[in-house]
């Protein structure tokens, strides 16, 4: 069972987390094919993937950069880096 060694909460088993999917930013202006590609397609090649992980007991969100080939967390991403603005 995988362990995530997280900032603030320390090493925790994966069973304490909910997976939130890949970090992505929706295109605010996109034509129909581009929007459909955004919604339905994902990059599946092995590599570094930024992912959302929710720690249920504390309610904290983490963004991890994971090497999907070795299944190793390379680093934790500052939440500021994944922010984007939405229209009011």
């Amino acid at each position: 069972m995988k362990v995530f060694d997280c900032p603030v909460i320390g090493p925790r088993p994966i069973s304490e987390f909910d997976y939130g999917g890949e970090v992505r930013r929706p295109p605010m202006e996109a034509d129909a094919p581009s929007w459909a590609a955004y919604v339905f397609n994902r990059q599946g090649a092995p590599g570094l993937l930024r992912e959302w992980w929710y720690h249920r007991p504390t309610g904290r969100w983490y963004v991890m950069e994971r090497d999907t080939l070795k299944d190793e967390v390379v680093r934790f991403i500052d939440l500021e880096e994944v922010r984007y603005d939405i229209p009011a």
Partner: protein, 983 residues
């Protein structure tokens, strides 16, 4: 005649306790500490089983749980492994896989038919003529089983615990104990585990007669057991290696899920058989099996023995046989005896015959070995013309070893073939994984101790985060302990590679010749390594054969994937105690006390309907015909809500407080409708879709203050909705706080024409229509409890949803039930609520919608403000989907008085022979006196005015009459009923 020896120095027996047991109808005795097999052998019973396919007589071969020759059946359990299962008093056992008795197994005839059962025969024979195959299938299935299961078994669960350590050392032999000590001396918290009931491993059974080993053995055992940093766990099996050094340890009381930060595998090596004709006769066994018999169980393995060897430890075993009183007739060395060391010298000094460059060509005997046939051997083949016989009832095989590297493989380690040692050795190990001892090619006692010390030190350095390069080859031996080809061909065959599966040499050769010449294909076609031992005694020889046939090296041939569990683990240990959280509302006990039948809604328990025991009699909704008691109860509840008053516990709803300057912006972005312009003290329907436009949740959002909202979510999606909102706060950089109040607030819905009348005197909130209109939200006090009231319309009557602290909920519930008695108040459950909302045509997310339904299909275009709202999650998808709605939810009815076969949820609509939709909800409506429902209907059927046809269970097509929704109170007048009663 007994084969029991005098007490041995390291025996596992407690001779003060004699145990009686039965085997195959005969009475036997043994000692506490015996395994079943050792007790049988001590009494002279050498025939222990019949082989899987050919029903050949079988006895002890590895005695290490690397074979299943000795597989027994008791009244409670099937497939008991005799070699390693401790004897207990009163056991009554028979052999598995016999037809009649073990002695006179009627199925031994199959052995003589073996030429009709070549490798892969089930793919080739028995299917012509086709109509006979069902009979053959039955016969084969019956013959192919092993033990019998008692279907009246009772549930037994074992405990499971979590364990933690710095370093897990697997295997408490010489190198394992040394590694544990070295690491513990460095301050590490060490767990040392061994699958055997006692620690020591081959340091005991192989070196018991080595004088210089004794002080080392005593020192190591005492040291590991007394060290403050070492926890020793004998009788615990390391089942497998899982991510991040998670290793389940199976012990007698259940599984310990051990999390280590590093793992040392000191699991040793598994002795491999020599392959020659009739090498499976009882009396032919591994040298280490004979040593285990003597040392652990004080059992003399035979009277007159021969040792077949290709290494020095074969001579050590021969010396041990002599000491145990076995007449050693000869040592047959497959190579030269010159490099075999001091033990070979001693054998020769004792005048025992040593035959160099020889091998065993054939073993002879009926149910037990009586004679071996030896012949000169050039390293690959025998010369049968020069063969000769030696009488013996015992043959020890000491021709080689395979590493017990299964956990290393599972952890991602790689092994490579070392031609000096003629053994696969660890070549590349992942971080935190270490190997030592014979597994790592260290064979002499000095090498093993040094290798253990190295591994312990390396683990310590790794865990303390210091850098030191690993030097894997440090303590490896230079002498080969395995023969590269311990295989002798014979025209008569029956030279077995895999004893579990009855596979002979020619089976593998033929499989390769048929084109199954890749190790994975070879395994699956021939079944080598697929038996209960999973190739522990067979895979190495299988690889050697395949390499030879295909002309490839051992490394090129590769090996199949080793998967957990290392030995079989009973399901009762894996099941263990499971965590199945149950969540109850504040009124739970009241529900039980008042006849509620509870149902599961996720982790929650909710009343499905109420059936007070005092109630009898028929429902007055008699128009529905013959109904079950359950259905009558539900109808009564529905009627109460429509004509009087009903009270339902909706505490399971999600309840989220949203506060802060950006609260409105958060909700605007997360839900389809605009929330930021909800007026003070009003609510709005809150529909949530995902990025693809699919409905994921719905609820109500209420404005509490300028920067504060109160949002509800469905029971099953509450946690996910909270999670989504909290993520949006991070993603969009919003200044918002969320509090999940689902558990701390209870909620109940009081619905019915008399709702206002009942509540008004109990609350300080002004319930008049101007002050508190439909969809309004108010805070105040009810029965002196601070509450929030929401006027909701889900069930279609005047109704107030009351949200209040859990600590006060029961008291308020009781007051409402008491005060409401004069209005005929009834509690109602989930089922009644479903009927009520269906009569209003209201959807339930997850019931009338599925994983693909968007708001247009659910008849909710009004919830999708594409023009007036610049952006929300899923808006671009909905903009595209609006024009291509391919199916829609439609209402339908069955004729009044319908008494035919009832359509059910998910029954399909059929149009011109094609599937054209399905029913999502259907129920009897007492308010309309007929069955109504909702169906997801494909276009163009949905927009036409044709009748729908639904296919029911029997296959018949039933017509459904499409109709508009809501079915009941289309103008919503029930929400403003009873206006004049309140000032």
């Amino acid at each position: 005649m007994t084969s029991r020896l005098d007490p041995q120095p390291l025996e596992w027996l407690d001779r003060s306790e004699t145990l009686s047991f039965e085997f195959e109808g005969k009475a036997f005795t043994g000692f506490a500490g015996d395994s079943i097999s050792s007790a049988l052998l001590a009494s002279g019973q050498t025939l222990l089983g019949r082989s899987f396919k050919y029903h050949r007589p079988r006895g002890v071969v590895t005695l290490a749980n690397h074979d299943v020759n000795a597989l027994f059946q008791s009244s409670e359990e099937p497939n008991i492994r005799g070699d390693i299962t401790p004897l207990t008093a009163g056991m009554s056992l028979t052999a598995c896989n016999v037809n009649g008795s073990l002695e006179k197994d009627r199925d031994q005839i199959i052995g003589t038919l073996s030429r009709f059962l070549p490798v892969g025969f089930y793919y080739k024979t028995f299917h012509n003529p086709k109509k006979l195959f069902p009979m053959w299938e039955r016969v084969i299935r019956e013959k192919a089983g092993l033990g019998t299961i008692d279907t009246r078994w009772s549930v037994r669960r074992q405990a499971k615990t979590y364990g933690f350590c710095d370093l897990l050392v697997i295997g408490a032999g010489a190198s394992g104990m040394q590694a544990a000590l070295s690491a513990a001396e460095q301050g590490l918290d060490v767990v040392l585990v061994d699958e055997n009931p006692q620690i020591g491993g081959s340091l005991d059974y192989q070196l018991v007669n080595e004088a210089n080993a004794a002080p080392i053995r005593e020192r190591l055992k005492a040291a590991v057991q007394n060290h403050a940093n070492i926890r020793v766990l004998p009788a615990h099996l390391a089942c497998g290696w899982y991510t991040d050094h998670y290793v389940p340890l199976l012990g007698p009381n259940g599984i310990i899920k051990m999390r280590a930060r590093a793992v040392i595998s000191a699991t040793g090596v598994m002795e491999q058989p020599a392959v020659f004709r009739n090498n499976d006769l009882p009396g032919v066994m591994m040298a280490s099996a004979a040593q285990r018999l003597i040392v652990r169980y004080a059992v003399k393995p035979g009277q007159r023995g021969v040792v077949l060897t290709a290494n020095s430890e074969g001579y050590r075993a021969a010396l041990d046989m002599v000491k145990a009183g076995v007449d050693v007739a000869a040592v047959i060395d497959m190579g030269s005896a010159n490099s075999r060391g001091v033990w070979a010298d001693e054998i020769r000094q004792q005048g025992i015959r040593v035959l160099e460059q020889h091998a065993v060509y054939e073993a002879k005997g009926k149910k037990r070995l009586t004679q071996i046939v030896a012949a000169p051997f050039d390293g690959h083949t025998c010369e049968p013309s020069k063969a000769f016989e030696i009488d013996a009832d015992l043959l020890l095989m000491s021709v080689g070893w395979a590493p017990a590297a299964q956990l290393l493989y599972q952890a991602g380690g790689r092994l490579a073939y070392d031609s000096t040692l003629e053994q696969l050795l660890p070549q590349e190990l992942p971080e935190g994984i270490f190997a030592c001892g014979r597994l790592n090619g260290a064979f002499t006692l000095e090498q093993r101790l040094a290798d253990g010390e190295r591994a312990g030190a390396e683990a310590a350095v790794f865990l303390k985060d210091e850098a030191l390069p690993a030097e894997l080859a440090a303590c490896r031996d230079r002498e080969a302990h395995s023969h590269p080809w311990p295989i002798v061909d014979h025209p008569g065959g029956k030279n077995f590679i895999d004893f579990d599966e009855d596979l002979q040499l020619k089976d593998l050769v033929n499989a390769a010749k048929e084109g199954f010449d890749n190790i994975e294909l070879m395994k699956r076609f021939s079944t080598v390594g697929m038996g209960p031992s999973q190739g522990k005694h067979a895979n190495m020889n299988g690889i050697r054969v395949l390499a030879a046939v295909t002309g490839r090296s051992i490394d090129q041939t590769g090996s199949t994937t080793a998967r957990p569990m290392f030995h079989p683990v009973p399901v009762q240990a894996l099941a263990g105690r499971r965590f199945r959280p149950e969540r109850l509302t504040a009124m739970h006990q009241w529900h039980l006390d008042n006849g509620a039948r509870m149902m599961e809604a996720g982790a929650w328990l909710r009343p499905e309907y109420y059936l007070p025991t005092s109630e009898t009699g028929v429902s007055d909704a008699a128009g529905a015909g013959n109904l079950s008691i359950r259905e009558q109860a539900i109808l009564r509840e529905v009627q109460a809500v429509r004509t009087g008053l009903g009270l339902i516990d909706v505490s399971t709803l999600g309840k989220i407080e949203v506060m802060g300057p950006d609260a409105g912006k958060l909700l605007d972005g997360s839900y389809t409708m605009r929330m930021s312009n909800i007026k003070q003290d009003m609510t709005r329907y809150a529909l949530m879709v995902d990025e693809s436009g699919v409905i994921v949740d719905d609820g109500i959002a209420a404005r509490v203050a300028e920067d504060r909202f109160y949002v509800s979510a469905t029971t099953s999606h509450a946690d996910a909705t909270f999670r989504t909102l909290s993520r949006h706060i991070v993603e969009w950089g919003l200044d918002v706080r969320l509090v999940n109040r689902t558990g701390s607030l209870a909620a109940m819905n009081l619905a019915g024409p008399h709702a206002r009348k009942l509540l008004a005197p109990l609350t300080d909130i002004d319930l008049s229509e101007e002050n508190f209109p439909y969809l309004g939200f108010k805070e105040g006090n009810l029965c002196d409890v601070p509450v929030r009231l929401i006027r909701v319309g889900f069930v279609g009557e005047l109704g107030y949803e009351i949200h209040l602290p859990v600590a006060s909920a029961q008291r308020v519930w009781n007051t409402l039930m008491e005060q409401g008695a004069e209005y005929g108040i009834r509690p109602f459950g989930v089922e009644a609520q479903r009927v009520l909302r269906l009569e209003k045509g209201h959807i339930i997310v997850g019931q009338d919608t599925d994983g693909l339904t968007n708001p247009f299909e659910a008849n909710m275009p009004w919830a999708v403000p594409l023009k007036s709202k610049p952006w929300f999650t899923g808006k671009p998808s909905l903009a595209l989907l609006k024009a291509r709605c391919q199916r829609t939810l439609r209402g339908f009815m069955l004729p009044k008085g319908y008494s035919g076969e009832l359509p059910k949820e998910c029954h399909l609509l059929i149009d011109s022979g094609d599937i054209a939709g399905r029913i999502t909800s259907i129920a009897y409506s007492p308010s309309l006196g007929r069955y109504i429902g909702l169906a997801m209907v494909d276009q163009p059927l949905a927009d036409s005015d044709r009748l729908y046809q639904v296919r029911v269970d029997s296959g018949a097509l039933i017509p459904l009459e499409p109709c508009a929704t809501p079915f009941y109170d289309a103008e919503g007048k029930r929400q403003t009923v009873d206006l004049t009663e309140v000032a």
